[in-house]
């Protein structure tokens, strides 16, 4: 009633009303579109004089999901850090362009002694670090002294790849000495088969001794290497900017003048940024977006060779998975092909072994457990479980390269298991909790995966399935003495053929015991503008951009 009165009191000419409405409109549009004139869009915003500048200066903008932790490669273990450091630092030896074979790097040649205990490296001459320090044998020695003098907390990968630090018993490297200005000798306490592959890992990028002696713990904020690009600026959580190293020791490289790594956490937003031309390359493309990219004439899709495995781990110490028959039944019950088709969008291959085929030592003779629910039921019957059982199935809460959507994969598995009378309840936890519970052996079955560090079979089989790693990365609590002996023998076997035989045998044992249901080796995807040339995605996940160009 009263309101009506008030309203009655407010009496306005329609003219005034119109002008007010206009005012509102103006306000809204000002706020929405900004009052700036001149430059139009971001895409062409580098327009006018700036466009010329960009034409002269080739800047590649690499969009990715997260920021680096540190730019000192030896202190980190995360891929986002290596993506950047791989372009600032060189390693003594390199992986191949798209594989994990070993090629010369800062060391142009090397010789390994027959017994596998001595390695002699001959270094490239005339190379300078970005700060002007000379690269020579002394610099290599100083890097190793720095690493070996650290501890597991400071340099985690050094310890886990070379068995420890300093005088520790497990430490593989006995000494590193300069035998000439450009010659370095490594003495090992015992042969280590993946030694060269370890040296090629991004963590072991050779840093300028002058710089790390001066900066100490702060070296990661101002990294200095010999790589194709020099560090310029790091705006945390936003961008890392690198510029061309004009004195790079490889003739004609790098092609680009500048590389900017930009963090855009949301996958859809990153794709939007690529579509609008704000970034040139986008990492972490969701498989379901691959069709959008292939259908767009301005874009191209890149496939990263797979070096991972996604699996359903069965906790071998928990009933009923302590019975190999039940584990084999699980392997027969799950339709892996359907899962790969549906959730990896066909971009990945079905796994039969715990490691991907690109890894040398892969046993292709293994006959995979075919999808056969009847056989699964039979096996359950033999195990005395014809009525099935109840179990908890852990579904990953986060997407990972090896598992694009844990929740959906879990649902598919749940349905497969229901067909053989197994009642799986899907549970999920926040990621850190998930890993912790799985590591503690609290899960009946859990989805998980692994991306290789150095392209060596040991990095899959020993790390994931050896009894030494129960409580850490052997989440399945799988234990087999015979397998353990083989894996340990393979660690010191330097003869490549003999080593591969050992790994072939190891995969047979694992196949028979069926501690997991291996699901897939996924193919991570990237996308880029059509103008990006010569980009080759590396299986390790960190790409050297020295040969990449922009047309």
């Amino acid at each position: 009633m009263i309101i009506k009165n008030t309203n009655g009191g407010v009496n306005l000419g329609s003219k005034k009303f119109l002008s007010l409405a206009l005012l509102m409109l103006m306000l809204i549009s000002t706020a929405l579109f900004g009052c700036s004139s001149g430059n139009t869009s971001e895409g062409t915003e580098s327009g006018g004089e700036k466009e010329e500048e960009t034409a002269k200066e080739k800047t590649l903008i690499f969009g990715r999901g997260g920021d680096s932790v540190s730019l000192d490669p030896i202190v980190v273990t995360d891929g986002e850090s290596y993506k950047v450091t791989k372009n600032i630092f060189d390693t003594l030896v390199n992986f191949g362009e798209q594989d994990t074979e070993i090629y010369p790097g800062l060391a142009k040649e090397w010789k390994a002694a027959e017994d596998g205990l001595t390695y002699n490296f001959v270094l490239e001459e005339g190379i300078k670090f970005h700060d002007g320090t000379d690269f020579n044998a002394e610099a290599v020695v100083k890097n190793f002294e720095r690493w070996a003098g650290g501890d597991a907390d400071k340099f985690p990968y050094y310890g886990s790849m070379f068995g420890g630090f300093g005088d520790e018993e497990g430490h593989v490297i006995e000494s590193v000495t300069a035998t000439g200005d450009y010659e370095v000798e490594f003495k090992l306490k015992r042969p280590q088969a993946p030694f060269l592959k370890n040296l090629a890992m991004s963590s072991f990028g050779i840093a300028s001794p002058t710089a790390f002696e001066k900066d100490g713990d702060k070296f990661g904020d101002n990294p200095v290497g010999t790589g194709p690009f020099k560090f310029v600026e790091w705006k945390r959580n936003d961008t890392v900017t690198l510029e061309k190293n004009a004195d790079y020791w490889i003739e004609g490289e790098p092609k680009l003048d500048k590389v900017v790594f930009r963090s855009i956490p949301d996958n859809s937003a990153r794709l939007n940024a690529l579509l609008s031309g704000e970034i040139d390359l986008a990492d972490g493309i969701t498989p379901s977006d691959s069709k959008t990219i292939e259908g767009n004439a301005d874009l191209q899709l890149f496939e990263r060779p797979s070096m991972n495995v996604g699996y359903l781990g069965l906790t071998n110490t928990r009933e009923p998975f302590d019975d190999p028959k039940v584990r084999q039944a699980m392997n027969h019950a799950i339709d892996k092909q359907a899962i790969v088709d549906a959730f990896f969008e066909g971009r990945g291959e079905v796994a039969k072994n715990p490691m991907p085929p690109v890894i040398s030592g892969y046993n292709d003779n293994i006959e995979e457990y075919e999808y056969n629910p009847e056989k699964a039921k039979e096996l359950l019957k033999e195990a005395g479980l014809e009525d099935g059982f109840d179990m908890e199935l852990y579904a990953m809460p986060v997407p990972r390269p090896y598992m694009p959507d844990g929740q959906k994969v879990a649902e598919a598995i749940q349905k497969n298991l229901a067909d053989i009378g197994v009642n799986a309840k899907i549970v999920s936890f926040e990621w850190a909790t998930y890993l912790e519970k799985a590591a503690a052996g609290e899960a009946d079955a859990f989805l998980l995966g692994w991306t290789g560090d150095n392209g060596d079979a040991d990095n899959f089989l020993y790390v994931l399935l050896d009894q030494d790693n129960i409580g850490s990365n052997n989440y399945a609590y799988y234990e087999n003495q015979e397998l353990h002996d083989i894996l340990i023998e393979a660690q010191t076997e330097v003869n490549e053929d003999k080593r591969n035989e050992l790994y072939a045998k190891a995969q047979e044992i694992i196949h028979a015991d069926a501690p997991w249901v291996p699901l897939a080796h996924s193919t991570p995807l990237l996308a880029g503008g059509k103008n990006v040339t010569n980009f080759k995605a590396h299986p390790t996940g960190s790409d050297k951009l020295s040969t990449v160009d922009l047309q």
Partner: protein, 334 residues
């Protein structure tokens, strides 16, 4: 007034102390070992053990808490477990990014929200009123994620007039002075860059402003309706004063008090609640700083981040309370 301000600030001490304690306890109630998370899936057991010792995670919680408080008193917010950098040294760029975005958002929300509310009240039950209130209703219930991605699609990809993500054109980065990019570019007199920075603010700013704008519009409308019914407005009207002045000068002054409270609260919420917006728009602000820290169980960062946001929240409320007195001298502080 000064006395009142002093007392209010003094009262903040137990509030902030309580806050540190609650935050501390909650964070430690989350399962998950920070050492494991920091070192990642690939870490060895020894490495994890070593890190736990270095981080002091082996100590009982009350010792950790007192260590933390002791640090706070000396202006030490602790060291990020992830980057090993003192929080004090690394927090400012994130905080500045969020403040810039929030201030921009609140300005939009206030200008549009208050005016929409006033006009709705003025022309109650008109088509504008209905439209504005429907839009406000949609605004409150709109998921920011969806809105943000839709806006990117329309304004960046289809129309190509606004950038999708980030704070600047990374091909032509801003030289950082204060970390408020609008101010930085202004100081440098680089107006081309300033307009670019401004454009980057628009999409995340409007996404962030949507909810407060809607709330402010509704609050203004109902507050205005009440005031417009009062005798003095009728008197002013009968004196023949122009309606515009009646509304914007006389009525607004009285109607604004509850709206101010809402603005204060919303401003505080913006600071803490920018996580989604900052994720979609790749905005390197404090919301994402805290969010990433949660993923890494980076206790000192989570603690300090929440504490800083809470502190600002409390300060804004204090300022709002002070403003009451300036706007309406009848309000006396006891």
């Amino acid at each position: 007034m000064l006395h009142y301000a002093g007392r209010r600030i003094f009262q903040l001490i137990p509030v902030l102390l309580g806050m540190t304690f609650i935050v501390f306890l909650i964070i430690r109630a989350i399962p998950g070992d920070p050492a494991q998370v920091i070192l990642g899936q690939q870490a060895s057991e020894e490495a994890i053990k070593a890190l736990r010792t270095t981080l002091g995670l082996d100590n009982p919680w009350y010792i950790q808490y007192f260590e933390y408080l002791k640090g706070l008193l000396t202006g030490d917010l602790g060291e990020s477990l992830r980057t090993r950098t003192p929080v004090v040294d690394e927090v400012w760029p994130y905080l500045a990014a969020t403040i810039e975005l929030s201030v921009f958002a609140i300005v939009i929300a206030v200008i549009i929200g208050i005016n929409a509310g006033i006009i709705s009240a003025w022309f109650q039950n008109s088509w504008f009123d209905y439209l504005a209130m429907i839009i406000a209703l949609i605004g409150v219930s709109m998921p920011i994620f969806w809105l943000g991605l839709m806006n990117q699609w329309i304004f960046s990809i289809e129309l190509g007039i606004l950038p999708t993500t980030g704070r600047e054109n990374v091909r032509d980065p801003v030289d950082v002075i204060t970390n408020f990019y609008l101010i930085d570019t202004l100081i440098q007199g680089n107006f081309a860059q300033m307009s670019v920075v401004f454009k980057h603010l628009i999409l995340p700013g409007t996404a962030l402003a949507t909810i407060p704008m809607a709330i402010i519009a509704r609050m203004t409308r109902s507050s205005m309706l009440e005031v417009m019914r009062s005798d003095y407005v009728r008197t002013a009207r009968s004196k023949g004063l122009k309606m515009f002045w009646v509304v914007y000068k006389h009525a607004l002054k009285n109607a604004i008090i509850p709206v101010l409270t809402i603005i204060g609260l919303q401003m505080g919420l913006l600071l803490g609640g920018a996580i989604l917006t900052e994720t979609i728009f790749g905005w390197p602000g404090i919301g994402r700083y805290i969010y990433e820290a949660i993923g890494f169980r980076d206790y000192p960062v989570i603690q300090s981040g929440i504490l800083i946001v809470a502190f600002i929240f409390v300060m804004i409320n204090l300022i709002v309370d002070m403003l009451y007195g300036l706007i309406d001298p009848r309000i006396k502080y006891e």
